[in-house]
Point group: C2
Chain length 240, copies 2
C-alpha cells in the first residue's frame, strides 16, 4: 500500500491532487462532524504529508472545508437534473432518490452543515448552501413550467425544500428510519398535498396544479394517496 | 437624555443592568445581522460605556450574542404555550400569530441565525435553536395528545416546524409578502394537509388525525380548505 501510495503521490497533477484531497476530506466529513476532522486526518486518509495538504490549502481546514462543500454542492446539484417528461411525481421521486442517497452517503457532514454552529462555517459556506437551495427551487419551478412564479408559488417551493431538509435531518437523527423508500414516497405525497393546498388560495398555483394533475396516471401516486385518505376522512363527514 | 441615562446608570442592579444590555443588543440584532453590530453600538444603544458592557459580558460579542439568543429563545418558547381546548387549527393559528409577530420583530437577527454562517454562531447557539425546535415539537405532540409518538408522527411534526422556519425566512426575504394573516392561514392549511397525508400511510397519525378532525367545526378552516379544493380537482377526475 505504501509503495503504490508513493507512486500515485509522484504522478498526480495539480488538479488531480486537489481532487484527491477533497475526496479524502469528504470521506472524513461524511463520518464525523467537521470539528472532529483534523488536517492530519485528511493527510493520513489521502496518504500524503500534512505540508502537502497545506500547500494545496494554505487557508487550512476552513479552506479545505469550503472546497469540499463546493464539490459536494456541485454533486448535489447534479441530483436535481431530471428530464421534463412524464408525471411530475415520478420525476420528483427520481430526484429525491438521488438526493436521499447523497444525504445517506454524507450523513455527518450534511447534518453538521445544515444544523449550523459548526466551527468551520463561514458566510461563504452559508452562501454555497443557499445556492443549492436556489438551484433546487429553480429546477422545480422549471418542471412546473412557470417562467414568472408569483410570491405564493415561490414560497411553496422553497418551503417544501426546507421541509425536505428538515425531514432529512430528522431521518438521520432517527437512525435512518423510516426506510428511505418510505421517506421518499412521503416527501412526494407532501409535495402533492402542499401544491394542492396552496392551489386552494392562489390562482397561479391552481393553474400549475391542474396542469400537473392532468399528467398523473390513474394508477399512480396521487390516486393511491386519494384512496388511502378515505378511511381517515370517513368520520369527518361534518366537514365535507 | 444623557442626564436620565446617567441616573438610570447608577440605579440599576446587576440583573437589571444585564437585562438592559440584552434588550439593547436584541434591538440592534433585530435590525442588522450580528456581524454588523459592535459592542460600541450596544454600549451606545444602552447609553453606557464600552467597559461596562465588557464587565457584564467579558466574553465580548459572542457571549452577549449567546445571552441575547437565550433571552429571545425564552420569549419564543412562551409563544408556543396555548390552552389545550377548542379546535386544533384555532390553537395552531393563535400560536402562529405570536410566532410570526416574533419573526417580524426580530427580522435581521432571526434571519442571520437560521441562515447560518454568522460569525457569532457557536455550537451553543446551535443548541439553543435546536432546543426551541424541540420545545415547539413537544407542544404540538402534547396538543395532539400522543404520549408516545412513533417515528412517522415525530417526523411529521418536526418537518412541519422546519417548513414554518423556511416559510418565515422566505417571507422576510420576499419583503414580508404575502400579508402575515395569509401566511398564517397557509401554514395552518399546510399542517392539516401534512397530517392528513401522513395519516394515509401511518396508523398512529390516522388515529390522531381522526380525533383532531372530530373537534373541527363545520364552518372552520378545514371545511374552507376542502371547499376551495373543488375547482382545483375538477379536471382530475381520472385520479379519483
Amino acid at each position: 500500500m505504501t509503495g503504490s501510495g508513493t507512486t500515485s503521490y509522484r504522478r498526480l497533477g495539480v488538479a488531480q491532487r486537489r481532487a484527491q484531497l477533497i475526496t479524502a476530506a469528504l470521506g472524513l466529513f461524511a463520518q464525523r462532524p467537521p470539528e472532529d476532522v483534523s488536517l492530519d486526518d485528511v493527510a493520513a486518509a489521502a496518504q500524503v504529508s500534512r505540508p502537502l495538504v497545506y500547500r494545496y490549502f494554505p487557508g487550512g481546514k476552513t479552506q479545505l472545508y469550503e472546497a469540499a462543500l463546493r464539490s459536494a454542492a456541485d454533486e448535489l446539484e447534479l441530483c436535481f437534473a431530471e428530464p421534463q417528461t412524464g408525471p411530475l411525481t415520478v420525476r420528483l421521486a427520481a430526484a429525491l432518490d438521488r438526493y436521499l442517497a447523497f444525504v445517506d452517503g454524507h450523513a455527518a457532514g450534511f447534518g453538521a452543515l445544515l444544523q449550523g454552529g459548526s466551527v468551520v462555517e463561514t458566510s461563504r459556506t452559508g452562501a454555497i448552501v443557499d445556492e443549492v437551495r436556489r438551484t433546487a427551487a429553480g429546477h422545480i419551478l422549471a418542471h412546473l413550467q412557470v417562467p414568472e412564479p408569483g410570491v405564493r408559488l415561490r414560497m411553496t417551493v422553497r418551503t417544501w425544500i426546507a421541509a425536505v431538509e428538515g425531514a432529512s435531518l430528522t431521518w438521520l437523527d432517527e437512525g435512518k428510519r423510516p426506510p428511505v423508500e418510505e421517506l421518499r414516497d412521503w416527501l412526494v405525497d407532501h409535495f402533492v398535498a402542499l401544491l394542492i393546498t396552496t392551489a386552494a388560495s392562489d390562482e397561479q398555483t391552481a393553474r400549475v396544479t391542474r396542469a400537473a394533475l392532468a399528467l398523473e396516471p390513474a394508477d399512480g401516486v396521487v390516486t393511491r394517496l386519494v384512496r388511502r385518505l378515505g378511511p381517515v376522512l370517513a368520520e369527518a363527514g361534518h366537514l365535507l
